[in-house]
């Protein structure tokens, strides 16, 4: 019997705690597969955020550190500078990376830290029960924007990858998604590139991944894929926004 698709050794056996249909699980699997395929399981140090993925150290087969909310990039910086021979990545939500941890993310990018950040943008604070995130869309109802996000008083969604294109030390910036098998394959490609860039010592690599939160969006998992496609994708700049070959970014 030929195996077409099976679980990677980059992940432990532990079932995920995520809600049904939450695409955090898909993203985990891609990372796990790359850890295995790129032979990084024994070399990687992952940094977990606070957020729904705050327990992800249980799932990745490599060594893991649990950071304080928003500080994963600082923790990863500390770890990578201590062990430059290791592969160090962060896994963070949009609140973690783009709100409380914004200074850490942008500053590490500016310093060109040789780490890779995976930024899971679900346009909401999942873990704490659905509050507005910096990435929540205009008009989006959340538990702290009960009348919908109003651009005049609450501002506009923060497009962190777009910002990072303007930061010299960020050498690879991609914005991808997971609503379909095709999108998932693209995402894996972007992650592989990001990881390779770290291994090549080129600088900071950052992959933003649009993800769903059926629970707090108040829709079923399949509808959530649709919401992601029709609402989120049009707002956030998508693609490889900056690559080492293509300095300056494709969005300019």
């Amino acid at each position: 019997m030929k195996t077409i698709f099976t679980k990677t050794s980059g992940l432990t056996e532990r079932p995920f705690h995520y809600c049904p249909g939450c695409t955090h699980g898909i993203i985990h699997r891609l990372i796990g597969e790359l850890l295995e395929e790129m032979n990084l399981i024994e070399k990687a140090i992952g940094v977990a955020p606070v957020g729904c993925a705050g327990f992800c150290e249980n799932y990745f087969s490599c060594d893991m550190i649990g950071a304080a909310h928003g500080r994963a990039v600082a923790v990863a910086t500390g770890a990578k500078r201590a062990r430059p021979d290791r592969f160090v990545f962060t896994y963070q939500g949009d609140g973690d990376g783009a709100s409380i941890g914004l200074a850490e993310t942008v500053s590490a990018a500016a310093r060109g830290e040789k780490i890779s950040s995976i930024f899971v943008n679900n346009a909401i604070y999942g873990m704490t029960g659905g509050q507005m995130a910096p990435t929540s869309l205009v008009g989006q109802r959340t538990s702290t924007s009960p009348y919908g996000r109003d651009a005049v008083t609450m501002g506009f969604p923060l497009d962190l990858p777009k910002i990072l294109t303007q930061v010299e030390g960020a050498v690879y910036v991609a914005s991808v998604s997971v609503e379909s098998p095709q999108a998932i394959k693209e995402t894996k490609k972007a992650l592989r590139k990001a990881f390779q860039i770290q291994l090549d010592g080129l600088g900071y690599s950052f992959v933003s991944i649009l993800s769903t939160c059926p629970t707090n969006w108040g829709v079923d998992p399949v509808e959530a894929l649709d919401w992601l496609t029709t609402k989120m994708k049009p707002y956030f700049a998508l693609g490889e926004l900056k690559t080492p070959a293509l300095e300056g970014g494709s969005n300019s």
């Binding site: 705690h17 809600c19 873990m127």
Partner: protein, 183 residues
């Protein structure tokens, strides 16, 4: 149930509505001008994790609002059964959702009441009201307050949704009836 004080524990998966029936109890107690406290507890997971709440209804001022040893406990899933069966006060009652919880070793010094509330709810046509059915069962067998006041609380908590109020009332009555017939 000593000195006019009754302690409840309602436990299950998140999404099974155990917090809600605790709220109904608490609201009803307040309407009945009794003293009351309601405390929730969640697991770290957003959905599918465990959730429970403790309610105390009392004639006098309530000191400790925590319920370590409930007089009346309800378990809507197996994990909660395992976790809480030992805590029920001797002489107390444990209500078990037998639609989901298999027949497990019990205790001799408490009453264990098994009710297939999911199935009953299914019959009413709305799987979601299994919790309210169970509330009816509890009310039928170990009442602390009047039926009417519980129904009033149910209606109040339905807010501006009359269909919901109606559905809940029907489920509640179904629970009462089932208990009177079968238990």
């Amino acid at each position: 149930m000593t000195s006019g004080i009754t302690k409840y524990l309602f436990a299950g998966f998140g999404g099974q509505g155990v917090l809600f029936i605790g709220k109904v109890m608490a609201q009803a107690a307040m309407l009945a001008k009794r003293q009351v406290t309601w405390i929730p507890a969640y697991g770290p997971e957003m959905r599918g994790g465990t959730a429970n709440c403790s309610v105390i209804i009392s004639n006098k001022r309530i000191g400790s609002p925590t319920v370590g040893k409930p007089d009346i406990a309800l378990v809507m899933n197996e994990a909660s059964y395992q976790k809480f069966i030992a805590s029920v006060v001797p002489g107390g009652t444990l209500y078990v959702n037998s639609s989901i919880v298999p027949d497990l070793p019990g205790r001799d010094d408490i009453q264990v009441v098994r009710v297939p509330v999911n199935d009953i709810a299914h019959e009413i046509g709305e799987a979601k009201v299994a919790n309210i059915v169970m509330l009816g069962v509890i009310q039928a067998l170990t009442p602390t307050l009047e039926d009417e006041i519980l129904i009033k609380a149910l209606v109040e908590l339905a807010g501006k949704k009359p269909e919901l109020a109606d559905l809940n009332s029907r489920a509640f009555k179904a629970g009462i009836e089932y208990a009177r017939k079968h238990v």
